[in-house]
């Protein structure tokens, strides 16, 4: 597969041109954004660096999911790649052609808003054929293409309707069909699933998968939901608090081995166990209130272990050496169980477990960690 989208050293500024004047001059700052390349960025007054030195590639037919907290710059990343938001630095290449200086309509990049934006004065068919008719493609050919995509995305029955008559899921699928009719090299999806109820969400997710399989376009899906990311994307990356983008990794890889604590937290599937790495007889171990696990290669100091629900087991007290924990609270969520435990010394921790775990407040248990990812917090 060839690289369809290549983003290099992209910087995006947030904010507006508010002039804060000091001694009569507009104050601006110079920020070293890439020490390795001695690359710096001039940040005008009133602006802040939103995304910093972001680089990644997406091949045709692949989908990269970008995770990040609200306000992290996920949408700004997409809007900048689409040419709807100015970049402060860096470049965007589509099929090896630098499109950084081109207008949005010249980039072959289609951007889909979080809420599908359909043209209200056009019928669904006219909406779907819009990218073709504006290029002067004959109406019959345009309609044939529209019907093909509409068939794949299961909206044939609404082609004669007006956008105002569509349900939420239908609106998403129509917007997707219209985008695919444009035959884009890159398709940018800005949280298309976030505001949908579970049934419509599944429906739109399957439409996205169908689109990914059939179009050959490189896709970027912005989301804050790991299920959506894993359900649609082949790779996942995360925008950190400092505006950097982690290296895209295959979905299964990033979930098993998140590259940083920030990414692990964004994935939202781990129990975070605070503790410390200590060296006992030359063997580093991560010790926490529930016991200890090997920490080869880690220096001494405070650390956090990230553990998935199935890697944590609670059992009755039988091992004399292992600390005993008192279960103080239990909360059930749809997919997991969350319990509060307390050590004899009074320290407490929250553990996320599988739903099958049958512990109740007041129980005394011992905890076994079968696998963990350690991150130093020193």
């Amino acid at each position: 597969m060839t690289v369809a989208l290549s983003v290099r050293g992209l910087h995006v500024l947030f904010g507006g041109p508010r002039t804060s004047r000091t001694n009569g001059t507009v104050s601006e700052s110079r920020l070293l954004v890439n020490p390795a390349r001695s690359q710096s960025l001039i940040v005008p007054a009133g602006y802040a660096v939103g995304l910093c030195d972001v680089s990644f590639d997406v091949s045709g037919g692949e989908c990269l999911a970008v995770l990040g907290e609200s306000g992290a710059g996920k949408s700004s990343l997409l809007r900048t790649v689409a040419g709807l938001h100015p970049a402060a630095g860096g470049s965007v290449h589509v099929h090896a052609r630098d499109v950084s200086a081109l207008l949005p309509e010249q980039r072959s990049i289609v951007y889909l808003h979080q809420e599908p934006v359909l043209f209200p004065h056009l019928s669904v068919m006219e909406n779907v054929t819009f990218p073709l008719t504006i290029r002067g493609i004959a109406k019959a050919v345009a309609m044939r293409r529209a019907v093909e995509w509409s068939d794949r995305l299961r909206i044939l029955n609404v082609l004669g309707a007006n956008p105002s008559e569509l349900s939420g899921g239908e609106r998403h699928r129509v917007a997707l069909a219209r985008a695919l009719c444009a035959d884009p090299a890159v398709l940018l999806l800005d949280e298309p699933l976030s505001s949908l109820d579970p049934a419509v969400r599944r429906d739109v997710r399957s439409a996205l998968l169908a689109a990914r399989a059939a179009s050959g376009a490189a896709m970027i899906l912005v989301t804050h939901d790991l299920d959506d990311a894993m359900g649609v994307a082949s790779h996942i990356a995360a925008i950190g608090r400092s505006g950097d983008l982690s290296v895209p990794l295959a979905s299964s890889v990033i979930v098993n081995s998140p590259p940083s604590l920030d990414v692990a937290r964004l994935l939202g599937v781990f129990t975070e166990i605070p503790g410390a790495v200590v060296n006992r007889n030359g063997v580093p171990r991560f010790e926490w209130i529930g016991g200890a696990i090997p920490a080869a290669g880690f220096g001494e100091g405070s650390a956090i272990a990230c553990v998935r629900a199935h890697e944590l087991a609670l059992g009755p007290t039988c091992d004399g050496e292992q600390p005993v924990l008192l279960v103080t609270a239990r909360r059930e969520a749809p997919h997991e169980l969350s319990i509060e435990v307390q050590s004899e010394a009074g320290s407490s921790a929250t553990l996320r477990l599988g739903l099958g775990t049958s512990v109740m407040p007041g129980d005394r248990v011992q905890c076994t960690v079968t696998n963990a990812r350690l991150f130093s917090t020193v």
Binding site: A82, E105, P131, R135, A182
Partner: protein
Amino acid sequence: MRRLPGARALAVILLTTFALSPLLMLLLTSVSRAWFYPALFSPSYDMTAWTALLLDASHRTALRNSLLLGVLTAVASTALALPLGRAAALSTPLVQRTIALLAFAAVALPPVALGIGLQLTVLALGLGGSLAGVLLAHLVPALGYLTLIFLGVFLRWDTRLDEAAATLGAASGIRWARVALPLLRRPISDALALGFLVSWSQVALTLLVGGGAVATLPLDVLAMLQAGQDQRAAAGALALTIPALIVLGAARVAARNTSVVVA
């Protein structure tokens, strides 16, 4: 709250009577001869006032001037106010407030004060007493009204439509023709109608800037009234309402099935 039976119907009847009774009086007066108080009805009826209005060359000139000024004011003020309102809506709040204030001033200033100021300006431009000078004067309040209208329209405009069209490959001209213009049909129709009506009913500015050299239908009606020609003045006043009603009706028809898209 419990409504009194028939209260709504009574309110509608009263309002309709209130709105239509002056027009009815104008109609009766325009076809009545020697109708004086306390006679309940006119002793005789004829169409002389209407015939004179239609056949008199000076009235026809006034009517032509009024129509020409109305159409030109409508088109020019709409063409200027639309980009002005859009630019204002996309500007900073300070610029928005400044433009809104200026537009409101053109509407809210007393017509005599505005007229004297415009008269001096038009005279300085060498356009005093000309149709072009009167057109410039009519443009000022019309532009004020329409800029306020388009500022409101574009403050509510969904800019994502433009973004969606752009990334689908539509260049700015296509976006304007295929997306923005169809959705703006209603405010544009309203603006054209309002621009026409502002000019059509203008008296003070026409009188001050035209200096009596530019005849329009409202000025003719005023002159007939001052001369005691009540029957002809009534026919002229009624004639003034006809194009206004046609323009309003046409604006509604043109705007059918369109709406401004709100973000």
